[in-house]
């Protein structure tokens, strides 16, 4: 299949970026910008109020003295707090990414049927498999990579803002920055992308399938079908036949099928064995932790279901004839 060459794929993904620049690029950038702005406003407000009430926190060097009295354990907590500040910026962008990917997939194989521009794309020698694959790549690689790059920039800015603010109160900026682990945070985030791809596949597959299959209102079908199935199953207690609780269906089918595009879902699924309070709460996000999900059947069954749904979406992309 020479039409499925790498060069073609590059241009197909580029086309998705042209069309969805707003969601893929501007949404995380604007979210990050607002996040920083709110933080800055908060800090300025606090400083102003502090100044009005004559509270000069750390002005006399108390904060520096406090830091110099900290032992290694306390210092690592300061570093942890700074890491949390960085993750929090990225966390908000991750939520936005979840929405962007969800609605992108829902429209990816539907919008061009509705405005009939599918007739233009289909007049070019591009295989349907290539088209669908380019949409999967855009949702599971392009969008998260952009979100994480933006997230890292915003996180670093957030870190700097905090450090500079504290430096006005007599704490050395570099001393603080050394306590944080920005590079470990970055590595954790970038390393998480492959897990995100695999984990999001059932949701991406289901939404693309609805997008390729439904003649109208893909959102309604995508959400109503699993929810209605869940309600029926709950009502009749069908899961009891398999000796499973009703919640099994809600968690493993409905939630997994609809919400896996939101980053972090795999963390919750794999966090059963994780004990909080071992001194490094953010260890949950370390690659050693996030990659444990690779050993779970949950992930791989999802990947299989996602692949099957993507194959079905490709078939409907080829044969749905309504434009």
């Amino acid at each position: 299949m020479k039409t499925l060459g790498l060069n073609n794929m590059y241009w197909l993904v580029k086309r998705e970026f042209w069309e969805h620049k707003g969601g893929f690029f501007w949404a995380p950038v604007i979210t990050g910008g607002i996040f920083l702005l709110l933080n800055l406003m908060g800090i300025i407000t606090a400083e102003v109020i502090g100044a009005q009430h004559g509270i000069h926190f750390g002005a006399g060097g108390e904060l520096r003295t406090l830091m110099s009295r900290m032992d290694a354990g306390d210092l690592s907590k300061v570093g942890l707090a700074l890491d949390v500040a960085m993750y929090s910026a990225i966390g908000i962008i991750a939520v936005v990414l979840g929405f962007v990917v969800f609605f992108y997939c829902l429209g990816a194989l539907y919008d061009d049927r509705r405005d009939r521009s599918i007739l233009f794309w289909k007049s070019l020698p591009i295989s349907n498999a290539g088209t669908v694959l380019s949409k999967v790549i855009s949702a599971t690689v392009l969008a998260p990579v952009i979100a994480i790059v933006v997230g890292i920039v915003v996180g670093m800015a957030q870190l700097l803002i905090l450090a500079v603010t504290l430096s006005f109160h007599g704490v050395n900026v570099w001393q603080l920055l050394v306590l944080a682990h920005p590079f470990r945070v970055m590595a954790n985030l970038i390393g998480y992308i492959p897990i995100y791809l695999l984990w999001a596949l059932p949701t991406v597959g289901w939404l693309l399938f609805c997008s390729a299959w439904s003649r109208s209102k893909p959102f309604l079908w995508a959400v109503a079908l699993p929810v209605a199935a869940g309600l029926l199953i709950s009502w009749f207690g069908i899961m009891g036949l398999f000796n499973l609780p009703t919640t099994w269906f809600w968690v493993n089918v409905v939630q997994r099928g609809l919400l896996s595009a939101f980053p972090g879902g795999s963390l919750m699924a794999s966090s059963h064995g994780f004990s909080v309070g071992n001194g490094n709460e953010l260890g949950l996000l370390d690659l050693g932790q996030t990659y444990q999900i690779l050993g779970s059947a949950n992930l791989w069954i999802g990947v299989l279901a996602g692949a099957a749904l993507i194959a079905a979406a490709t078939w409907f992309r080829r044969w749905r004839d309504d434009s």
């Binding site: 590059y10 241009w11 042209w18 521009s117 289909k122």
Partner: protein, 285 residues
């Protein structure tokens, strides 16, 4: 192997109506074929079948390939302009050229840019900022730069003003068409294409009712302008159609003896639109 398209017993049903009813035809290379029919006659279904966009019964061979099973391969040699609305609204001129240049192996970028230079389109312009006529100019520039063997046009000038329409067909003839290429066009604006067509196909209720080249049509169909006193004689020869103009009658004959008709009055070649109206009489009744 000079036939570009061969259809044998082509049929297609939508729920309870037959869109195509056992249609057979063959289109050789280097022709411009007008596929003309009333609304809902099955024109678009024929084109969709040729482009592999819809499944069908019967046999269809396009450039030696089955459009259903070898669509991706086929589309390297087939171009397609549906009506004007199909370019995505977010697309920029520059991006459109870039994209087609990289995904289409037979696209000639320099040619496309030369065509675009003749228009008012600018590289940064988006489709949503263009008028209908400009969208067609962009689409035509993209398509004419592709060295394809078959070009399918489905109502390409719908909703355009006469300047754009004339220019559209003029560009096609002057800068695109040659003996290695074949063009199939469907349109309701018959008067504007009749001078460029080499072949004519009339389709009605899913059936091909006329399939002939323009020379044969000139031989076969004759229009006679008859004075009122000879009208009865003309009517006796069973004309296809009759209409009155300025107290005279115009009769349209299919395959009548030319010498006899010349005795009745002034003969001439009928226009495609008159032929169309006569053939399709009673379609909507």
């Amino acid at each position: 192997m000079s036939a570009v398209i061969t259809a044998t017993g082509l049929s297609k049903r939508y729920k309870n109506t037959a869109a195509l009813d056992n249609v057979s035809f063959s289109i050789p290379s280097g022709r411009i074929v007008g596929l003309i029919g009333p609304n809902g006659a099955g024109k678009t279904t024929v084109l969709k079948a040729i482009l592999g966009l819809t499944p069908f019964q019967g046999e269809l061979n396009v450039l030696g390939l089955n459009p259903c099973t070898h669509r991706d391969e086929l589309m390297e040699n087939v171009c397609f302009i549906a009506d004007v609305a199909v370019l995505p609204r977010w697309l920029r001129v520059r991006d459109a050229v870039d994209f087609v240049a990289h995904v289409h192996p037979r696209f000639d970028r320099a040619k496309c840019e030369a065509f675009l230079k003749r228009t008012k389109l600018t590289p940064n312009q988006r489709v949503k900022q263009m008028s209908k006529g400009m969208i067609v100019q962009l689409h035509l520039a993209l398509v004419m730069a592709i060295d394809a063997r078959l070009l399918v046009l489905d109502e390409p000038t719908l909703g355009l003003d006469i300047l754009y329409r004339k220019q559209f067909y003029q560009n096609l003839l002057e800068d695109y068409f040659d003996e290695d290429k074949t063009i199939i066009v469907t349109t309701h604006q018959v008067e504007e294409v009749e001078h460029i067509l080499t072949d004519l196909m009339f389709i009605r209720d899913g059936k091909i009712v006329l399939d002939a080249d323009m020379d044969a049509i000139g031989e076969r169909f004759i229009e006679v302008l008859v004075n009122a006193d000879r009208a009865a004689a003309a009517r006796a020869m069973r004309p296809l159609d009759e209409r009155q103009v300025f107290g005279k009658s115009i009769f349209l004959f299919d395959g009548a003896d030319r010498a006899v008709l010349e005795g009745l009055g002034e003969t001439r070649r009928p226009s495609v639109s008159d032929l169309f109206v006569a053939t399709m009489k009673g379609t909507y009744a």
